[in-house]
Structure formats: structure tokens, C-alpha cells
Amino acid sequence: MNVGINEYLYLSAVLFAIGFFGVLLRKNTLVIYMCLELMLVASTVALVAFSHFNRTMDGNVFVFFILTVAAAEVAVGLAIIVALFRRRQTIQVEELNALKN
């Protein structure tokens, strides 16, 4: 059986789903962040597969931009987490309820 575009899309969907359930189920902010990265990577797999099988360049260039934006996002997000930890001494999401009530 030849690997076509569908197999890559299945893999992308599975990766995205794993990341999504990680975001839903984990309580540690750092792990939630890793799962967000996983979801971004899953979308890049789909884009590169589309680009390869359609023989166009645009998907690859989009992935290029996604990589850049993800790097910026990680830097800012981790700085926010560190600032949060400095204030609250915890990064567990269930204890970060300052906006409740």
C-alpha cells in the first residue's frame, strides 16, 4: 500500500487530538504549553503533506512562518509562566483562580 496524502492527514489529526486532550486533561501549565506546541506541529505536518502532494510551495512557506511565530510564542509564554510563578508560587491551573468570584 502506497502512503498517500490521507495517511499524513490521519497522523496530523491524531497528533492534534493528542495535544488537544493534553490541554484538556493536564493541570500543569508547562505541560499544557507543550501540548499546545504539539498541536501546532500537527498542523505543520498537514501543511507540508499538502504542499508535497500538490507540488506547490505555499504550504512549506506557511510552515516556515508557523515555526517563527511558535518560537516567539514560546518565549513570551514561558516568560509569563515564570512571572506567574514568581507571584503565586504555583503553576497548577486549579490554583490559579484569582479571577473567580
Binding site: Y8, L15, N28, M57, V61, T68, V74, A75, F85
Partner: protein, 176 residues
């Protein structure tokens, strides 16, 4: 040997270590599983002839991002203490989400599959479009020139934001 077996090998590696990211209790183990997963994705990019993206994936993600994660894990205490059990609503919602996902994937597998585009009339050997650096350069400096500049500006803003966020401000009201 066909590259198909490599696809299955690397996709199993990627999905398995992605599962390990979610399931590991230890944050460091999660970060290292993320590293393995990203390397697997880079290998898949090589199978898709996107060599530059594979190299960038290893450099940017595996090199910088995971190292940053590990650094933050070292800085702060990620040990959560006693963890509360999940609420009933969370369990119901995630079960529902899983059911929806399985239904969607099963539907896609059963009736709708995207046909791999056929390029009739191209008898020439298949030229991988993402393999050449020249193609990236041409695209980035003609069609995507404005996004490149915006992304550069975004990186600058991110750098400034990180500096501001990690600076200690004296006399600020503490939110408790």
C-alpha cells in the same frame, strides 16, 4: 526498500512519544518525549522532501524550544503536590470529545478520502518542490515579502515583551 515503512516507523514514533508527553507525570520526561516527537516530525518532513523545514524543526524546536522548556522546569517547582481528582464535568466532556473525534475519523476513513493529486502529462521525473533552497528564497522575497517583515517585527516585539515580563518592578501591588 520502500519509504512507506519509514513513514509507519516515524509516525508510530511521533504519535507514541506525543502520547508520552501527555501521560508522563514527570515534567522533564514530558519535555524529553516532546523532543523525540519533534525529531520524528522532522524525519517525516524529510520523507516529504522538505529538507530545509526538517533542519529548521530540529534547530528551532528541538534545539531552542525544548531547551527553553527544560530550563524553565529547572527554574520553577513543577511538583504539584496532592492532585485533585477530575471533576465529573471534565470526564463527561473529554469522553464526549473523544467520541466525536473517533466518529469524525471513522467517517473520514470510511467514505471520504482525499485523492492524491495526479499530474497527468508530466512524464518528467518527479521534482520535489520543497527540496530546493532557491524555491524558498524566491517565495519569501517576492510573494511573501510583507509577511516576512511582519514576522520579523513580531520577533522584535516578542523579545521586548520577554524583557518587560521578566523585569522586576518595584512597588507594584501584588495580586493575591
Amino acid at each position: 526498500m520502500s519509504p512507506d515503512i519509514f513513514f509507519y516507523l516515524f509516525s508510530a514514533l511521533t504519535a507514541g512519544s506525543a502520547l508520552a508527553v501527555v501521560l508522563c507525570k514527570n515534567t522533564v520526561a514530558s519535555a524529553l518525549s516532546l523532543l523525540v516527537s519533534l525529531v520524528g516530525v522532522a524525519a517525516l518532513f524529510i520523507l516529504l522532501d522538505a529538507f530545509l523545514l526538517a533542519a529548521l524543526m530540529v534547530f528551532v524546536y528541538a534545539g531552542a524550544v525544548v531547551a527553553l522548556f527544560l530550563f524553565i522546569v529547572m527554574l520553577i517547582d513543577t511538583y504539584g503536590g496532592v492532585r485533585k481528582p477530575f471533576k465529573k464535568a471534565t470526564i463527561v466532556a473529554s469522553g464526549l470529545g473523544l467520541a466525536l473525534l473517533v466518529t469524525g475519523l471513522a467517517t473520514l476513513a470510511q467514505r471520504g478520502s482525499i485523492a492524491t493529486p495526479e499530474f497527468a502529462g508530466t512524464t518528467a521525473p518527479l521534482v520535489p518542490v520543497g527540496a530546493s533552497l532557491r524555491a524558498y528564497g524566491e517565495q519569501l522575497f517576492t510573494t511573501y515579502l510583507l509577511p516576512v517583515q511582519i514576522v520579523g517585527f513580531l520577533l522584535l516585539i516578542a523579545m521586548l515583551g520577554v524583557i518587560v515580563l521578566s523585569k522586576k518592578f518595584e512597588g507594584l501591588e501584588d495580586v493575591k
